[in-house]
Symmetry: C2
């Protein structure tokens, strides 16, 4: 969701490749000689090295030559990197050489993306992305390594695929234990489950719903994905090319269910984890679960929370909820408009869920009022697609050779520290393009913002995971008054109304609390205990010191997809893009531990906030 | 399953492209001028023009200049072809210029493959493949034309995807009628159903089994596909790259079930057609079906039989089946070996099913005897993969840019008339490679052949659909005597034995009739009547005048995927490759009729054999 550093009119020149190759050769020479200062001198004074698991066994970004030195001092000997080479011809545009490269470490193979700028007459790295994609000796069984399937020859102990699958299903959780237990089987848990399956890590994904995909099916009926199809592929199996741009929720639900089956993800539906505790002594978790109502104890080595990056529903403590006689629920439990035709509904909140719910209610002849408590950022879906995503995730990008996998790496190569500077112009362009729209919103009294620094939607998503609406039509209902807009804070509820701090009384048969979600470590408090949740700390956000994302600067998303202060506990999730891309690095970290590969973590996350 | 005319060491030269472009320009000039003799002169004295629906509204091959003239005289004005142009640079190798091209007709867009040879100092067409891939104004909603999914804006009459799907499911067959009824929901019916769905042709696929994929699940438990994954993709959604080379039957079953759902194929399980009749007057079929036991009348305009290219099980009329006290069944009803441990089983037949069943029985400690009634052709699966398919359908081919879609067209471009000449060397190579194997088979008394003209397995498949085994291991069991081999004809059954014509008595608890299948028009006789089946004539085969494929030469597979002597009745099926590739041409023929586009058929199939 960003403009990229790569202008579309890049040209491929032999020079760019020679420049990039020379730089990679210099890097390799310095690294081979274990000459950390020489390696650091190859980086520009402003520079960012982002590593996904290949050097750091972490997800981390270091800054400047000092950062490079710090990273290398601690990781170089163990990593033993080598074989840096271009993966395809390099590009040069606007004085920046961009190069895709591959490399090896002692235990794995990696690929990366390098951007060189000129500084003091030399070509130096401005951004340097290194990522691990496979572990040596543990390559995924794909393409030429795919399984054979049929076992040719005659064998009296032959077991068929179905028999093996059945035996595995019967033994899992009774005579065999998963090495990894993934709690939560939405897109995040499923994508990770598929990767772990491919890597041969014994795993189990559990989810409370009756079927994979119910996480989507159970939401309000008009819901469609807000991100377009090119951004949403899962690993291994892409949506077919007739897939809708914005898939309806039931279609995504069906896809997830089919995907789980096709990828042979070990998945228990109708299963809830009720408690978990970790034994330092045995290095094992004890997780109590209820599977279709039957209690059962699991003893995984690793536990992954994939319970939704939005965390637990945040329901404000409003006086009078006990006297309110209507229907009161959080947006996550909203059943859709069908039952409310002709009624009065007050929706508290003005972000994505609030707008989607208001829109669907209005379409069903409900008298609906939105209560805006604080300012919200809105972008029109079409503008976001065109200006925000088009270079990386679109039919145009695919045609230009930017596959989803490539787009993910390009996107990953943009340092979080300066990401907002690339975002701001995109949102300025949207503000200009949709000027009339924003004027109408403002005229209707809507309190609109562009983020603390004008960097728009995607930075809000990364920083706080809230505070915006991708407009698919409901904003116009607010602008034209079809959905009534009221601004203010909730004071209390009466028997049949919402009362605001200024005394305004809003009659209500139904109140929908579209009041957002807490930090994901709330799930940890529930399942393990508050002490563990506090030690884990806040999940999500960058430490940008903007609204709802307090500093200090963290460099990466807090606690996501990487080692945490809690041994053998991991957090996974995010949108479909993140579930796809970061599940790879989480899966490789888990695989390495499963195989007993040494995984010294560089720069383990510190905790600055507990929620 | 063939060597191709394209040697792998082709080189791309500007000359080849210039030569091909000049030829296409000459063709276009001749066709624009409606100068049929000039067009025919562009073809070599030995030449083959194969057209898939674009000129002929048929699947047809014409031979030599005379054939070209005949085709053009009847089709040129109506087709109004134009815009012949290279689709990518042409290749030249061994004096043959090979060129991919595109073109248009009055109603559609096509692509083709051209091979030019030198004759009398001129470049002339040796093979010329023309295929229709879409109808103008009816392009498939894919890629940039994919559906939007979310309907932005606010709309009080909004219907969700799920509501539309439910409404469609409820009305289909009651208040709305399918334009096309596809009888049989295996890979053929499903692939066609998916294409018709994409093309917006109201259709319904019915199948007797409880779930899509049961056609595979219900077969003997050790069954895996005999063709490799690259050959087996369905349209639109390819197998993921971790898919086994030879997929186990239950995994394919699950894939077909997921695919049906993902592609939104209208599919009724547990549904049997009990009778069908066509009214010339109304132009409608009346098809009586039982859906989950409930009788129902359907009134489609078109009926497609996709009941399996193998046709109805062929059970020889053996005296004594009434006195035999054991378990007697056709191979298509064989449940697998589990119930037969320790018993004596006699398998009549020595083709694919017979070998697979014997192998699985032996693995389960069954005393098993194979009765060979006539000679069989065997190739080892690995050799077939490597020598027979590797250039077109393999990881190697994919890496060389030969996508499945391209491979299908290359394969389709090889004229059936001379296909055996390309096949013979491949099978000679296999005979040499696996010499020891064939010697061992012979030493065990097995009666082996390479086809009437030594052209091997794939020609047997195209000509008669039988007479071979792709060895995945069971042949060795016969060679080493683990599976007992007896040669001869069945004379009769006793209470507990099979008696051969020479008096040999084979004690049997179980007799499996692996005795093959009849022509597909047997299904037509059952559902409609014998008179219609006879008018339709034999299905499958080329008229090669070889065993079980009587002449005269037909030029194409009899009655498959193209208009037949019976109005509005179509035959569809074959392996996964054929189900994928030919479903496109059948779907386009049906779509054109649905849209009322004129479809004058060139060279309607004549009937020379009734079964």
């Amino acid at each position: 969701m960003t403009q990229t550093l790569d202008a579309p009119e890049t040209t491929e020149t032999p020079d760019a490749s020679a420049v990039a190759t020379a730089w990679l050769d210099d890097l390799e020479a310095a690294l081979s000689a274990r000459d950390v200062p020489a390696a650091a001198r190859l980086f520009a004074s402003e520079s960012y090295w982002r590593d996904l698991v290949s050097f750091s066994w972490n997800i981390t970004t270091v800054e400047g030559r000092e950062g490079v030195e710090h990273l290398l001092e601690q990781t170089l000997a163990g990593t033993d990197p080598s074989g840096f080479a271009l993966d395809e011809p390099a590009d040069e545009a606007d004085g920046v050489v961009t190069a895709w490269f591959v490399f090896e470490t002692a235990v794995g193979r990696g690929r990366g993306l390098l951007r060189l700028v000129e500084e003091d007459g030399e070509r130096r790295a401005f951004t340097f992305l290194t990522t691990l994609y496979e572990l040596k000796g543990h390559e995924e069984p794909r393409n030429e390594h795919r399984p054979r399937g049929a076992e040719h020859g005659a064998d009296k102990s032959r077991q068929t695929w179905l028999e093996r699958r059945q035996e595995e299903a019967e033994s899992l959780g009774s005579t065999t234990q998963p090495y990894v237990l993934v709690i939560g089987g939405g897109q995040g848990g499923i994508a990770l489950g598929a990767r772990l399956r491919q890597l041969g890590v014994p795993s189990l994904v559990i989810d409370k719903h009756p079927r994979p995909g119910d996480q989507w099916r159970n939401r309000y009926k008009s819901l469609c994905l807000h991100d377009p199809v090119w951004y949403d592929h899962l690993p291994y199996l892409k949506f077919p090319d007739n897939w809708p741009v914005f898939a309806p929720k039931d279609k995504i639900g069906d896809w997830l269910e089919s995907y789980t089956k096709i990828m042979e993800v070990p998945y228990w539906s109708s299963t809830t984890a009720t408690s978990a505790s970790y034994s330092e002594e045995t290095g094992e978790w004890t997780v109590e679960v209820e599977r279709e109502g039957r209690p059962l104890t699991l003893r995984p080595t690793q536990v992954v929370f994939a319970t939704g990056m939005s965390g637990k529903p945040n329901i404000p403590d409003v006086p009078g909820t006990d006297v309110f006689e209507g229907d009161l629920h959080h947006s996550s439990a909203h059943p859709g408009p069908d039952a409310y035709r002709g009624k009065k509904v007050v929706v508290i909140g003005s972000n994505n869920s609030a707008f989607d719910i208001c829109g669907a209610l209005w379409e069903n002849d409900v008298d609906v009022t939105m209560v805006q408590r604080s300012s919200t950022h809105i972008v029109k879906s079409d503008s976001l697609m065109e200006i925000g995503l088009g270079d990386l995730y679109s039919e145009r990008a695919v045609k230009a050779g930017v596959t989803t996998e490539k787009a993910d790496l390009i996107f990953a190569s943009l340092p979080y520290r300066i990401l907002h500077t690339f975002q701001i112009p995109a949102y300025e362009a949207m503000a200009e393009k949709d000027k009339d729209f924003y004027e109408r919103l403002e005229a209707a009294g809507f309190d609109h913002d562009w983020g603390d620094d004008g960097s728009g939607l995607f930075m809000k998503y990364l920083r706080r995971g809230s505070g915006y609406y991708i407009d698919v039509g409901a904003a116009d209902l607010v602008a034209n008054g079809d959905v009534k807009l009221v601004k203010g804070q909730i004071d209390h509820l009466t028997r049949d109304a919402v009362v605001l701090a200024d005394g305004t009384e809003l009659p209500a048969d139904v109140v929908v609390m579209a009041t957002g979600y807490g930090s994901m470590n709330g799930w940890v408090a529930d399942l393990i205990d508050q002490e563990t949740a506090d030690r884990l700390g806040k999940v999500w956000g960058l430490g940008s010191d903007t609204t709802k994302d307090p500093g200090p600067w963290e460099g990466e998303q807090r606690n996501m997809w990487k080692p945490t202060q809690i041994d053998n506990l991991w957090m996974h999730g995010g949108n479909l893009h993140q579930s796809r891309h970061y599940s790879l690095y989480l899966a490789l970290q888990l695989k390495a531990r499963f195989e007993g590969i040494d995984t010294p973590v560089y720069g383990l996350q510190e905790v600055h906030h507990t929620s």
